[in-house]
């Protein structure tokens, strides 16, 4: 079971879109999970960003069952202490992940806004982080969703799907 969990007002339509699309890439059921924790505990006031590792820890506390996976979807700007920002974070070979649309908006880069593109980027980021949860590491294929993207530019080059190599690892590792 994969749960999609809205955290602190994600962009409208994102949770629904991602829940609908995820079965294309992952077997099993997808449901929405309403989080109970206050996301502000992850807010770093000096950086004005949210610590994604704290969000992961909170999601882990709310895990409905040992086998469940949760992907948190948010609009807040995420970071891990050593990096200036992250698009998302996942527990490798674990249960929880989080993805943010904050830096996936065109306007963040001084470009004309494109709502469909933000949704597509966020979906790719969610699939990527969930791939980590299902034990996948980065892939060399620039069209594979598991390719490491340090920017939206690379994100736009990849598909929202696993390449055949990653897909076969995913199938054998997790189902």
């Amino acid at each position: 079971m994969i749960y999609v969990a809205p955290i602190h007002n994600p962009i409208p339509g994102a949770v629904r879109y991602i829940s609908q699309q995820l079965p294309n890439e992952f077997r099993g059921l997808v449901a929405v999970h309403q989080t109970k924790f206050d996301p502000r505990i992850a807010l770093d006031k000096t950086r004005n960003q949210y610590n994604s590792t704290i969000l992961l820890a909170e999601l882990l506390q709310e895990l409905p069952s040992k086998h469940a996976k949760i992907i948190g979807i948010t609009e807040v700007d995420l970071f891990i202490p050593v990096l200036t920002f992250v698009f998302g974070e996942a527990q490798l070979n674990g249960n929880v992940a989080v993805a943010s649309s904050h830096r996936l908006r065109n306007s963040y880069y001084g470009l004309p806004e494109n709502p469909d593109l933000v949704l597509e980027r966020l979906y790719k980021e969610a699939v990527h982080e969930l791939g980590h949860v299902f034990s996948l590491t980065h892939c060399d294929n620039y069209r594979c969703v598991m390719h490491a993207a340090t920017g939206v530019e690379e994100l736009d080059l990849k598909n929202a799907a696993f390449c055949s190599a990653c897909n076969s690892v995913l199938r054998s590792a997790s189902f």
Binding site: T53, V86, R103, A165
Partner: protein, 483 residues
């Protein structure tokens, strides 16, 4: 669940004085079990007294497919150094007891080939110089920009001369090949197939010419997929679809702030296509200034982002495409001659669909099979009447128009056969026998007819015709059409 073991999900969060949060996420139960499709030989050790820093860096490297581990201080680091060979060490300059600089000195005594990257909390020239003098390869300032970190690690790996092994085995070749293929057994298509084979083995600039919808981008993708550059991206830019100011930014990228209000740098397509192929569609629409700038990049392989001064080196192959008469544009002074010669080293001409009627049937059959599978509908064949209409049609929108027509027909078909009425327009009406009217006349009439049907909805008409909106606007202008 098979071999996939689930570990208990405790988590330990504690507040540390002055350091915000430190979270101890449970580490993967068995690091060797973590699968990856990247076969790096590099092993990376992260040494930092701050748990949050070393754990998050370690996890970051593991997700990138590296073997990674952590040490909380110099003593632990030295212990781990004695147990196995490490390729790269990231170490915090400021640590209690034995400092990072002192540890660096000891590491260099143990193995001078280990690539050391220092982590510092402040960008100060002094510490940087001191670290580099002490034999460090480079240094990073906390917090690190993810892009900088991956670049430094890539550089470090090059330094160690660690090759990414078995890349071609792990990145399957079939994954790199476009989903579409070149269809047709006409002599023209056979010739083009030969040309693709030849030109893909070289690095020369290719100019693909042909009407809208003849499949110019597909040819570019096939050349790229057969070239040694296939594991790096093919980056397509439709130059005609972007206003001048945006095209420049799209190609060259821009720095944060400056004129755009960007909160973060935006990397252009030139940068993203590094190692791969840059495909410039509708190259004839590029303005003179951008032509000059592009020419400079093609010659020097270097450029700067807009609003920046850092020189960025790139290595890509350029493939251009156009449906315009570039020679005429050069004569009229609308296209630079030097740029024209630079991009037109190897021209490929794609004939319009109507000139290779033998391929029309193959295309129709191919698209029919594909869409029938896609929408899980048992549409098996074209009725003789429908096929005859398709063969007679002039296809001003070329392959794209044919593709759209078949796709729609498969959707609306009521039985196993596509009948004339399933086709998206009354072909009898617009396809006069050839010879009676010029192609331009047929095209004009067809476009006008479609515009009438859609109530002059440009987007829809362009979709039906299988051409982009810019091309449709140009044709409306060319034929002087109005409501």
């Amino acid at each position: 669940m098979g071999r996939h073991r689930i570990r208990p999900f405790e988590v330990n969060i504690r507040r540390r004085d002055g350091h915000g949060w430190a979270i101890q996420m449970p580490a993967p139960q068995d690091r060797t079990e973590v699968r990856g499709l990247k076969n790096h030989t590099a092993a990376i050790l992260v040494v930092d007294d701050e748990a949050a820093v070393r754990e998050s860096l370690c996890s970051w490297f593991q997700k990138d497919g590296y073997t990674a581990d952590t040490a909380a201080d110099a003593v632990e680091a030295l212990k781990k150094l004695s147990k196995r060979a490490w390729d790269i060490i990231l170490l915090d300059i400021k640590m209690p007891n034995i400092s990072g600089m002192e540890l660096l000195r000891r590491i260099r005594q143990i193995d001078p080939d280990i690539v050391s990257i220092m982590i510092t909390a402040y960008a100060s020239v002094d510490t940087a110089v001191e670290a580099l003098k002490g034999g460090a390869f480079d240094y990073v300032v906390k917090p690190i920009d993810p892009d900088d970190l991956s670049r430094i690690v890539r550089k470090a790996i090059e330094q160690r001369k660690l090759k990414k092994e078995n890349l071609s085995l792990r990145t399957k070749i079939e994954d790199m090949v476009p989903e579409e293929e070149l269809i047709g057994d006409s002599p023209q298509i056979k010739k083009i197939q030969e040309i693709i084979e030849t030109v893909s083995q070289t690095d020369v600039s290719v100019l693909i010419r042909g009407d809208s919808g003849t499949g110019k981008e597909l040819i570019a993708r096939l050349i790229h997929a057969k070239s040694t550059r296939r594991y790096s991206p093919l980056v397509a830019v439709n130059c005609g679809a972007l206003p001048e100011s945006l095209l420049e930014s799209e190609l060259f990228g821009h720095e944060k702030g400056s004129f755009t209000g960007a909160q973060y740098k935006h990397r252009g397509k030139l940068e993203i296509s590094n190692g791969g192929t840059l495909f410039l569609d509708e190259v004839g629409t590029i303005d003179a200034k951008t032509q000059v700038d592009l020419l400079r990049v093609l010659d020097s392989k270097q450029f700067t982002r807009l609003g920046g001064n850092q020189v960025i080196s790139v290595d890509f192959r350029v493939i251009c495409a156009t449906n315009q008469d570039l020679e005429q544009l050069v004569k009229e002074g609308k296209f630079r001659e030097d740029f024209y010669y630079r991009i037109n080293v190897f021209p490929i001409n794609l004939p319009p669909l109507r000139d290779r009627s033998g391929d029309i049937r193959l295309f129709a059959q191919h698209f029919l099979e594909r869409y029938a599978i896609q929408i899980r509908k048992k549409v098996l064949r074209l009725s003789p009447e429908a096929l005859s209409l398709i063969m007679k049609h002039d296809w001003p929108g070329n392959v794209r128009e044919l593709k759209n027509a078949i796709e729609r027909a498969v959707v609306v078909a009521g039985g196993p056969e596509i009948r004339p009425e399933d086709l998206p327009f009354d072909m009898n009406k617009i396809s006069k026998p050839r010879g009676e009217s010029s192609i331009a006349e047929v095209e004009r009439a067809h476009i006008l007819d479609m515009l009438g049907r859609t109530g002059w909805n440009i987007t829809r008409t362009a979709q039906i015709l299988g051409i982009d909106r810019v091309t449709l606007y140009n044709k409306i202008k060319k034929y002087g059409l109005s409501k």
